[in-house]
């Protein structure tokens, strides 16, 4: 259940170009959050909260790690907060990735700032002894992060748009190298998700979506996406952000 929590910033570091890793301490969220859920972060002076995915959790330490890219005034403000400070968060928000016990091989496909939720998911899947293959796409070498960490989960392809690191091209360009898998999980920019779901059409998969949010709890109808069911829509904040790839219309 979502609650309003104070989370203390324990550590902050820049792990790639404009990309911040922040470790937050909070008992409730660290114990209850699932891979794919997000935090809805209040920033002083801002009208709306900022949704940021949970990238990792250490239940024993009671910490939650987030990774975010500085793209506008809110993320810039968050990046300026120093360890010791507390931030006001709603969470854990949304529904996480569904994990299927029978799966033996899973493919993670993360693009840019869609990579973070893939990490805690991959860690959780790897703990269940599934074979984890990851494809991580970034714009350019300077944006790459968490390569080492994903390597520890399983074979990891790094792809950069300009070929400055790893393979050149898009995440889909290495699909032919992946081999067989039972299910895929993907998070990234919408154009990427469109190509991914098209190319993997028919394969079972889950995707995590982004949209500008108002409430973040399902009340305001800001974040809807057309769905194939009777109701005709889903709310990304509360029905998602994770959806069965066959359930929504991108």
């Amino acid at each position: 259940m979502i609650t309003k929590e104070n989370m203390r910033i324990l550590a902050k570091s820049m792990i790639a170009l404009d990309t911040i890793e922040m470790v937050l301490e909070n008992k409730y969220i660290s114990q209850t959050a699932l891979p794919g859920q997000f935090l809805h972060i209040f920033l002083e002076g801002k009208t709306l909260r900022r949704p940021i995915s949970i990238a990792d959790i250490d239940k024993e330490m009671g910490t939650v790690t987030i990774l975010f890219k500085v793209v506008g005034s809110g993320t810039k403000q968050l990046a300026s907060y120093e360890p010791g400070r507390e931030i006001d968060v709603l969470g854990p928000s949304g529904n996480g990735f569904q994990i299927t016990e029978e799966d033996s091989t899973v493919l993670l496909i993360g693009g840019g700032i869609g990579v973070p939720p893939m990490y805690y998911l991959g860690k959780t899947l790897a703990k269940q002894n599934k074979k984890v293959i990851s494809i991580l796409g970034f714009q350019t070498k300077a944006n790459v992060f968490y390569e080492e960490k994903f390597n520890q989960l399983g074979y990891t392809f790094i792809v950069t748009n300009d070929g400055s690191y790893g393979e050149k091209g898009f995440v889909t360009d290495v699909f032919h190298k992946v081999g067989d898998f039972d299910r895929y999980y993907s998070c990234g920019p919408l154009p990427m998700l469109k190509t991914v779901t098209n190319e993997l059409n028919g394969k079972p998969g889950f995707i995590s979506l982004e949209e500008r949010m108002g409430c973040g709890v399902g009340a305001c109808f800001a974040c809807v996406i057309p769905s194939k069911d009777d109701k005709g829509y889903k709310k990304i904040c509360s029905d998602g952000p994770v959806f069965d790839a066959r359930e929504v219309s991108l």
Binding site: K4, T47, R212, G214, C215, F221, V224
Partner: protein
């Protein structure tokens, strides 16, 4: 005696605080944060005759001290609301205000009739001021004759007290207020959002899919206060005030300007507990500024 109590047509409010329409859905989500029985009333999200999907996304954008929204009146339709949402809200010891939107006078009439038949709705709020739909909505809100017409038709169609929600996108809000008062409105609800736009520098296009959206939040509070103050001098029906309320002091400012109750919209998004916290703080705030009851403050700035 309850010092926060306010009685309005059809509404015995234990306190003058209620979430504004569209910013609280049908209460379900916020009921997980606190007991909705604490609220003076709940203004439900707009209902239309049929279900509406609303506008494309993005539907919201943040602005300095405010936000733009262009939800486009997405809602499951009045039938579904009466069947599934009203009964849920009826579990709470609070007043239910049904917000009605329509593209035609007949639609307002039909939706009003249906709410009238439930026993759980305490008042109607006519949204004649939604700037985010192509037809209906805002035309009703900028033409005094149309506004009067829709008001009297809805009054005929139901026994419920009718609060007409006015648009601020007019040069003379008093004219609108008087027109609907004469047409039989039991109260006013003001203000709805100001029409605004944000342009995304990266795409070089309006950020909202609907291009324009309604501006809400603290940015518009001075406009709301001015309009309520002006209208209060010229009408005798009560006003439910809204527009940028974040704190108990904001509530007091609205009361002083002439509002008898106050709705909180946008502020729920940053702080889901905001209505509950304001209700807790209000008695002390009233006292700090020398008022014994909420009622004592109503319209104080208007009387010379």
């Amino acid at each position: 005696m309850n010092k926060l109590a306010v009685n309005l047509p059809g509404l015995h409010l234990k306190n003058p605080i209620m979430p504004a329409s569209g910013c609280f859905g049908f209460g379900r989500e916020y009921s997980e944060f606190y007991d909705l029985s604490k609220l003076g009333a709940i203004m439900m999200k707009a209902a239309t005759a049929e279900m509406r999907f609303g506008n494309g996304t993005p539907r919201v954008a943040e602005t300095t001290a405010g936000m733009l929204n262009a939800i486009g009146l997405q809602n499951p339709g009045v039938k579904e609301i009466i069947e599934n949402e009203v009964p849920f809200l009826a579990n709470f010891d609070t007043n239910i205000i049904a917000n009605i939107a329509g593209s035609t006078i007949e639609e307002y009439e039909m939706v009003a009739k249906m709410f009238n038949e439930t026993n759980d709705v305490h008042a109607l709020e006519l949204n004649i001021s939604c700037p985010n739909v192509k037809e209906g909505g805002i035309q009703f809100g900028t033409d005094p004759k149309m506004a009067a017409k829709v008001t009297s038709v809805v009054k005929e169609a139901s026994n419920l007290p009718v609060y007409v929600k006015l648009s601020p996108n007019v040069p003379d809000i008093t004219r609108m207020a008087k027109a609907v008062e004469e047409a039989g409105a039991d109260g006013l609800s003001m203000i709805n959002t100001l029409t605004g736009m944000q342009i995304d520098l990266r795409s070089k296009r309006p950020l909202l899919a609907n291009k324009t959206g309604g501006l809400s939040g603290p940015a518009i509070k001075p406009v709301a206060i001015r309009m309520i103050y002006e209208v209060k001098q010229h009408v005798s029906i009560p006003i439910i005030g809204m527009g940028g309320v974040n704190t108990a002091e904001d509530v007091l400012e609205f009361l002083l300007a002439g509002a008898s109750a106050v709705a909180v919209g946008t502020a729920n998004f940053a702080n889901p507990f905001v209505c509950s916290e304001i209700i807790d703080e209000l008695p002390e705030t009233l006292k700090k500024y020398g008022f014994d009851t909420a009622l004592d403050a109503v319209g104080k700035a208007v009387m010379e």
